[in-house]
Each structure stands twice: as structure tokens, then as C-alpha cells.
Subunit: 610 residues, 2 copies
């Protein structure tokens, strides 16, 4: 056995031992899932990848996304083997006091995106690989996937995108161990069907025995030579490999070994150690990092008061302008660029505009990968269709990743297309995540300012825009800090405060004028920042207006502006009257629908006077 | 030309004319999308499908799912041609006063599931086809899909499932018109790559010219003869087919013709009418419907007070029992049946248990199809992973379909697996939909009762269960009507009301006992029905306990129990103190996490006394 092989073989054995030891210490976890992939990972980390164990976030280092997140103990053991974690810490797995969580999160410096919801890693890998292209780096991206998770459609979205982008720096490693959680996988060890599927999606495919180190090394070597298409390495493996009473046996998913079983297993594995004929493998260092070009200043907006501009259109111009100022900004589309106006970005920055066709999951997943590697991605689509990527958004929150989702066509104000195209639960989705910023501009100036604020903030942001044209109401020099609001109408005699945003702000303004004609004054607030929220100003307004706070929103009643305001003012003993879409809506003209579903000026007038 | 061909050709031309006429009248919509599929649909509806235009919901009738929902005008024109809609009503398209919405919804009797969010129809078709198997009917299911929507991963989940279930009664018709919304599709007219992909997923594939009626008829005929696998008909078509200034031209997506263009187009199309040599085609009637076996009574639960039973486990026994009583009940799994305990259903009703492997979108989509055809489906997985199907759940709400989603492993109380496995936004998702029922049982008796209530209710339901074992606290004869709650501790001297459900109910009970030892009484409410909610009882409790309402929940703060209670009591001027998970959590022991994130008994005691 060559020095390299003997060393890798022993590393793989140690990875198995550590995975078993850690999960037994934790009394939970997935040791057998780690054991099937140990040879693949030993060879990848210690004979192929180029990285710096002391600086896992090195911008030119090769990436590994552990898509099968339940193999976390294996990942931790690899980094321990590389020297980034003290080996004795591995048994802290899953402790509240440790960052070695049950599934990997970016609390660890070597994790780019949280995994554990299956089928997401390849999309993140697409993003990492697109970022290499953005910064002109030769770094490679590897994604370790389970066979079971290829049932997720998101995997095939990512596969199609990787092919479309010709991502030859991307390599998927499929650990085909044939056993799912509750039963054998659909295709079990049918590598031929996997080969046909991945080939059909345009990938170069290499099928190997995933426990044969020379075959593994050859596959990684070969993958580096493939140009113009991504590579999938299909590795036939055995779950629980290396221990007689776990290998290829059912009912071991997600089960740690007992202490006695652990000792027996370690004894068996120790007997598999071979004499080493060379030193420990050297991990090649990545090239020195190159600084990114600095962001330039952005000129203020250039709108005229009273001009009619849809916020979705202002969004398009805003990201185009931002992209000129900052090379980290990229835009991602799902074949609606002419509706969201992200085509304005494409027109000036075609090399930083990424088309995912009608596939929102990979669009958001790739944005997560891009963000994890230093880009500032703005994926946009109809707000309703971000629900297609809700689980990716959930994982983006867990990752705390720097993505800026922009959803257009909010609410019933889109009109005739009907409920399937109306986002009425997008704020419920976004604000549920405690670390998400949720923004809702009403005019073009505010939109442009909030896009810049979103880019400057480090963390996940959701921006909601609207379809109808609305008048510009703010001066170009107005500022819109995150967590703020605007009091747009105010007098000493206000009898109530009406809080709107987007199209309903203009209904509130109409109501204000109608009431004024009747001698009744109301305060009107533009709640452009729904999360974080300016609780103090809301409470102040409530107290100044007889405790009467009325929210009006083009969103269902649960999880929107009304709930956000109610949470903010409850500590002051204030309650909120919520005007929102009360039922599943239908097609119709925008004005008809606003009125029918109770959020038009007329209804606001009634709420104030009634 | 044969009598059949001349008749079908003229029908197709009329379908194009009506699609143009309706969208021009509406001044919005997608005429060219209809025109590419007109020949395919004329032949399907008037020379292949077996149905009753007077009774579109006939249980034995063939099904058509219009997955490309923006071709709604075509669908409406087809039903008008069949006599189910007066032709003159077609120009009511998209009016508020008409059920001919911009995208199809089940407000129309011939629509099984709402479409318009692309990539969902095939999953619903899988459900329709599984239902045919359930009731032993030979009816066939057709799904018209756009080429663009095959970028959605959900399509490939459905493709894999249809192959796994050997659904030879399912036929997908791909209208490959090569033009997306904003640009050409990725594969354009590359039918060979489509063929390779669908074949790779186990489908029988027939490639045709989608404007050649004899080829179309042959394909439908051939599809009927294929046994043991579903068929995909790949039809090369031209968007805007039949009109010189729309055919195969870009920038026509989602644009109606002007009145002048319409007149020119209709003139062109009228010139394509051919002499008919026979009468109108006869649509074959389906066989007479057979009644389903009636549901039997269900025996009461059989638990013992104080027994420790996880609600997820009680869920598994409950659906098994329910399945014995009612043949309409089916269970669907995504390879977690041993965690959700749906394996208990499989053990007794293997023929009504459907395995989707790790593919939550097709699981929920198929449930929608099953429900639309008379089954009562219970799809279950980890509650966190229902977010993967959030857009399907949104469309299920628009469809008002009779599905019963059951999500297990809610909240931080799952412990060591970490945040990726913890559902903390599932109620935000479910309660956002105004027609969803959202339930949260705390003990085994309540779980079993609520499962039966969910099945008896007609409409979408979400049930949340927990991982830890909790004591049985209710008598087996206790009833749990939807929209109710249980006051589980009450005295005349209660200083506050604490409202919990699931694991937090037991924290509230602990807090009750600790406070009682200090001479402080609190009221404790089990809010098992979060939506609808018993506002009157909550207000009564609030008023009886100094206006102090405290909610405590294993969910993020937005969109959960606290918001639901706050909405319910706001009209009475009452506010709510919300105790919920305030940040992204992490791995740890369940009790550690409940305490760390502020929802343990200790925190409740502090909230009451502080």
C-alpha cells in the first residue's frame, strides 16, 4: 500500500471511530451515516481539497458543503483531523455548551450554510461555484449528498442550473448507501439509474465503489479535468461500513451505539488500522486572498414628487444602481425579470445576473451560497412564489446568511391574475424568522433607499414591492433607516392613528383627506420597516390619538403588519384594530378587490368614524 | 380529412378564437399560451377523455389538471365547447362577478385543484391517479404542463413518484412552446433532452408535433396501452400558433391582443376553418358511479390518566384506527414514518399508505389530488419539513381542499438535533391561510379526538404534534370540538391566565403548582384549537384574571399562539404577554432549551409574579 493510501485508510478509520464515539457520548445522532462516507471524505479532505485549516473562510479555499447534514459528526471529525478542532472536543457533540450541533450551522467557522433539511446543499454549492466565477477564483466546490435526499426536487433544480451555468468547478459526491431513515431508498444500489438521471441533466458522471480509495482518488482527479460541465461522483457505499453489526443493516438510522457496542465497534475498527509508510498528508494551501474592489458611494434617488412609479420598478433601477457602486451585488431571477424589473440590473451587469428559470428553490439556495462566499445577492420573484422556497428561507435564517429577497406583486392589488399570484402570507413567512429584516416601501424614493439599506445591513432581508404605480411622496433626500417609520400626516387633534404600507398607505392618505373634509383629523404612519419595528413611535402615536391604532394591510390577518404592530404596542397596554384580507380572494380589478376585502379608503373612514 | 379530424381542427381553431376574445375583453391574460396547446386539448377533450360535461365531478370521470394555469381561457373555452359553460359567458373572464378567474380555482365545478403556481399540477395528478387505484376505477388522469414549469423541482418529485407507483393511468402532456415569460426556456425545442430526462425518471415517452392532430390522437391511443409506467407526451408547439403576428414570437407572454389585433387574428383564424363532414364529436360517458363504503363509528380513546405518551405516537395510533373506520382515509409519508408513527397506519392499511420518500412537495400535492377526488389524506412529516411544501399548502388553501397535514417534532423540545429539525414557524405558515384549521394537542386523548375531528371537518387542517412523551391528562370521554379550548386549572382567585399548548401546557401546569405552593393562583388554558379560536372564553378568562393573559409557546413569536390570542382578545381591549422562542435556537437537551429560550415553568412563574 502506498504511503498516501495507508495514511488515508487510517484517517477514514479514525473518522469512523470518532463519529461513533461522539454520537455515543451524545446518546443521539447518526453514526452509520458517517461511516458510509468516511472513505470519500478522507480522500477529499486529505488528498484533493486545497484549504487552510486555520482560516476556513479563506476566500480562495475550496468549499465543502455537507448537504447530508446528519453526517455532522463526520464533518467535525474531519476538521479535527485537519487540526481545526481539538480532537477531545468531538465528544461535546450536541451539547448546549458546544457549537458542534446536531446538524452543522455557521456557528462553526468552517460551515458556509446550515444543513440538515435535506436536498439544499447542491443549490448552495451552485452559489459557491458562481461566486468563484464572480471573483475570478479557481476554487472548487464539493457537495456531499445522501442518496435519499436526491428525491427532493430541489436537487434537480440545482442539477439543471449547474448544467446551464456550465459549472465545471462543482462536484457532487453521492454517498449511495441505499438505506433511508425508515426503509431502503427508492433506487437502493441501482447506480445505473442514478447515472442515467444525472447524465440526462447534463452532468459528467463517474461511478465508483465508495470504499475503494484508489477509485475515489481517481474520480476526484478526473473531475478536475472535466471542462464545461459539473461532475457527479456516484459512490456505492454501505451504511455503517466497517463494523460487522452495523454494516448495511436496517434500523440503524439515527441511532447511536450503546457504550458496549461502541467498545466492540472501536475494537473492530482498530484492527483495520494499517502500518503507515509515510507522514501525515499535507493539505495544500490556497493562493493568497485578493481584496475585493471597494464599494463606491451611491447618488441619491432622482424621482419627482407626484410621479407615478411602481415600487417593483423602482426596485429594478435601485439594484442596477447599487450594482454599479458595489461589485459584490448580484441579482438572481426565476424567469420573471420583466415583471420584477430585475432586467434593469441585467442590462447593465449581465455578468452578475443569474437566471434560474422557474426554479425558486435553487435561486434562493444559490443566493445562500453566494452570500456565504462574500457576494450580496438579490434574488427576486413574485412574492407569492418565494413560498416555494420557504424551507430554504428557514435555513437561510438559521444560517444568518446575507441574502436580500425581493418579492413583487404583493397582495390583492395585483388584481385580475387571481389568488395564486397574490402574496398574502409573505410577511408571515419572513417575520416568523426572528433574525429577518422585513421591509415594505410605498414609494420609489423609499424603495431605492431601502434597497441600499438592505445591502448595507449584514444579514437576511425581505423586501416586499407592489405591482400598481403609486405616486412619489418623499423627497429624494429623505432617509429610511431600518427599524424606522414615517409619520406622514399629523395634527394636534388626531382622533386615531392609521398605519399602512405599500398600496394601503395611499388608501390611508385618501381616508385622511376625506375625513379632514368632515373635520376629523387622523394621524397616518408609513410602516416601511415591519421588522425591526419602531415600537416607541407607535406607542407614542397610540397614546397621542386616544389609544386608537388601526392597521390596514394588503396581507392576510395572521403574521402581517397588524400582528407586528400589536406585538410592539402590547407592553404599553395598547391594542390594535386590524384591517386585512379576511378570506381567500379572487380575480377582479385592483380597486374592486381592495374595497371588497375591506382595505380601501372607505373602510378606513368607517373604521375611524364607526 | 376524416369527419373526426375536420371537427377537431375546427374545435381547436374555435378554442384559439375564444382564448383571444376572452383575454382581449379582460384586457389581460395569456392568449398565446392557450394557442400553443389548443390542438392538444381539442383532441384530448373531444376524442379521448371520458367524462360528463353536466357532472364534471363524476367519481369515475377522467381528470384533466391544467398545470399551466395561465392557460385558463383555453380550459374555459374547452368546457364551453363541451356545453358546460354558455359560450357568451367566456368574455366574463377575470371579472370580479365571474368564477372564470385569471387562473383556475375550484370555484368552478370542473377544477379539482387551483393552479397558477407552476409545477404543481403533476403532483396533484399523481394524487388523482392514486385515488383511482383506491376506489378501483379505470379513470385516467391527464396533466397539461408547460415546458417552462418543468424547471420546478416539484415536477421531478412527481415524476419519480409516478414511476414508483407505476401509475399507468397518468399521462403528462408537455406543451413545449419554447418561450417562457421573460425569455426562451432553457431547453427551448430540444425535445431530445426532455425525452432523455423523462425516460431517466422511468416514464414512457412519446414525442410528437403538437399541432398535428393525427400524431396527437395516436399518442393518446398509444398512452392507453402502456402498462406499468406513466406516459409523457412531449409535444413540440409554437406559442401563439395560428396567428401570423403572434406565432413563435417573443414578448407576447401574458399580453392580450388589442381590439384591432383581435379582429385581425380572428379573421386569420376563421380562414383556417375547414368544411365539416360529420357531426359534433360525442364525449363518451363514464360508467355509473359506485357508492363508497360508509364510515363506521370509532371507539373512544383507550388511554390511562398519567400514562406517558408522545402526541406524535398517539397520532399514529389515531390515524390507524380512523383508517379502519373510514375507507376514505389514506396516509402519506416522506420517509419518516418511524418518527411520525404513521407506520402504525401502514401496518394495518398497507394499500392506503403511500410512500413518497424524501419529497414533501409531491407528498402534499398528491394529497391535494387525492382529497379532490374524495379521499381524506393525512400527509405527515416533521413539522419543519412542511415548509418545503409551503407553496403547495398556499395553493391547498386557495383550493379549499380537504387535506389533513400532520407535522411532528415541533419546537425546541426536540432537543439535540438542532434548529434545522425544529418547527418554529409552522403555525405562522398554517394560520396565515384564513381557511386553515390549526390544532395543537397536548396529550394522547386530545390527539386522538382531534384526528377524528379533523377527518370529520371538510377543509384543510394542520395538526402539530410533539416529540417528547407527555402525561395523559384527559379522560377518554372528553370531547375536543374545533374552535374550543380547555380551562385546565381555575379558581376564584386567579391572578393571571396562562395559555399554552403542547409541551408548554405542562410547563404552565408546573408553574401553577409552584405558584400555588406560594399561595398564588393562576388559571391555565389548553389552547388545542389555535384556529378557529375560542375568543369568548379567552376574553372571559382575561377579564376574570385582572386582564392578565400570558401565552407561552414552543414557536417563534410571530404567527403563533400569542398572536392568535392577541387578535382574539383585542376587541375587548385586552393585551397579551407573549412568551415564545425569541431567537434562532441551537442543539441541547429539551429541558435546557425550554429554559434557555424562556418558555419553562420558571419563566412562567417569573412572568406571573414579576
Amino acid at each position: 500500500m502506498s504511503p498516501q493510501l495507508s495514511s488515508l485508510k487510517n484517517i477514514a478509520t479514525r473518522l469512523r471511530i470518532e463519529s461513533i464515539r461522539a454520537t455515543t457520548a451524545a446518546a443521539s445522532g447518526h453514526p452509520t451515516t458517517c461511516m458510509s462516507a468516511a472513505d470519500l471524505m478522507a480522500a477529499l479532505f486529505f488528498a484533493d481539497m486545497r484549504f487552510d485549516p486555520k482560516n476556513p473562510q479563506h476566500p480562495e479555499a475550496d468549499r465543502l458543503v455537507m448537504s447530508k447534514g446528519h453526517a455532522a459528526p463526520l464533518l467535525y471529525a474531519m476538521w479535527a483531523e485537519a487540526g481545526a478542532i481539538p480532537r477531545e472536543r468531538l465528544t461535546d457533540l450536541r451539547l448546549f455548551t458546544s457549537n458542534l450541533e446536531g446538524h452543522p450551522t455557521p456557528r462553526l467557522p468552517f460551515v458556509d450554510v446550515a444543513t440538515g433539511s435535506l436536498g439544499q446543499g447542491l443549490a448552495a454549492g451552485v452559489g459557491c461555484a458562481l461566486n468563484a466565477r464572480r471573483i475570478g477564483s479557481p476554487y472548487r466546490t464539493y457537495v456531499l449528498m445522501g442518496d435519499g435526499e436526491t428525491a427532493e426536487g430541489s436537487v434537480w433544480e440545482a442539477a439543471a442550473s449547474a448544467h446551464f451555468f456550465k459549472l465545471d468547478s462543482l462536484c457532487a459526491i453521492l454517498d449511495v448507501n441505499a438505506l433511508g431513515q425508515s426503509r431502503p431508498t427508492e433506487l437502493q444500489h441501482d447506480l445505473e439509474t442514478y447515472r442515467v438521471r444525472w447524465s440526462a441533466f447534463g452532468w459528467h458522471v463517474i461511478s465508483i465503489d465508495g470504499h475503494d480509495l484508489p477509485q475515489i482518488l481517481d474520480a476526484y482527479q478526473k473531475a478536475r479535468t472535466i471542462k464545461g460541465q459539473p461532475t457527479a461522483i456516484l459512490a456505492r457505499t454501505l451504511k455503517g461500513k466497517g463494523v460487522s453489526f452495523t454494516e448495511n443493516l436496517p434500523n440503524w438510522h439515527g441511532k447511536p451505539l450503546s457504550k458496549e457496542q461502541m467498545e466492540k465497534a472501536i475494537e473492530e475498527l482498530n484492527r483495520q488500522m494499517v502500518p503507515e509508510t509515510g507522514g501525515a498528508p499535507k493539505i495544500p494551501a490556497p493562493p493568497p486572498p485578493r481584496p475585493e474592489a471597494a464599494a463606491k458611494n451611491i447618488a441619491p434617488p432622482q424621482f419627482k414628487l407626484g410621479d407615478m412609479v411602481a415600487t417593483r420598478e423602482a426596485y429594478g433601477s435601485a439594484i442596477a444602481k447599487l450594482g454599479t457602486a458595489d461589485p459584490r451585488v448580484v441579482a438572481l431571477d426565476a424567469d420573471v425579470k420583466n415583471s420584477t424589473f430585475s432586467e434593469k440590473f441585467e442590462a447593465v451587469h449581465p455578468d452578475r445576473f443569474f437566471q434560474f428559470f422557474i426554479a425558486e428553490q435553487v435561486m434562493v439556495g444559490a443566493a445562500m451560497g453566494l452570500a456565504a462566499r462574500g457576494a450580496i445577492p438579490f434574488p427576486s420573484t413574485f412574492a407569492a412564489f418565494f413560498t416555494r422556497a420557504a424551507d430554504f428561507i428557514r435555513m437561510a435564517a438559521i444560517s444568518g446568511v446575507n441574502i436580500k429577497l425581493a418579492g413583487s406583486h404583493a397582495g390583492v392589488s395585483i388584481g385580475e391574475d387571481g389568488p395564486s399570484q397574490m402574496a398574502l402570507e409573505d410577511f408571515a413567512m419572513a417575520t416568523a424568522q426572528p433574525n429577518f429584516v422585513a421591509l415594505y416601501p410605498s414609494d420609489a424614493v423609499c424603495t431605492e433607499r431601502l434597497v441600499a439599506e438592505a445591502a448595507a445591513f449584514v444579514g437576511p432581508v425581505y423586501i416586499r414591492t407592489s405591482r400598481p404605480k403609486t405616486p412619489v411622496i418623499y423627497d429624494n433626500n429623505e432617509q429610511f433607516p431600518l427599524g424606522g417609520l414615517k409619520v406622514v400626516r399629523k395634527s394636534e387633534k388626531d382622533v386615531a392613528t392609521v398605519i399602512g404600507a405599500g398600496v394601503t398607505l395611499f388608501e390611508a392618505l385618501k381616508a385622511h383627506d376625506e375625513l379632514k373634509a368632515k373635520g376629523i383629523s387622523i394621524r397616518v404612519i408609513d410602516l416601511y420597516s415591519v421588522q425591526p419595528i419602531d415600537a416607541a413611535s407607535l406607542i407614542e402615536a397610540g397614546k397621542a390619538t386616544n389609544g386608537r391604532l388601526i392597521t390596514v394591510e394588503d396581507h392576510y390577518i395572521s403574521g402581517g403588519l397588524g400582528d407586528a404592530v400589536a406585538r410592539a404596542v402590547a407592553p404599553a397596554g395598547l391594542t390594535v384594530r386590524r384591517m386585512a384580507i379576511p378570506e381567500i380572494p379572487r380575480s377582479g380589478k385592483p380597486d374592486e378587490l381592495l374595497d371588497k376585502f375591506g382595505i380601501s379608503a372607505r373602510h378606513i373612514v368607517n373604521a375611524v368614524t364607526g
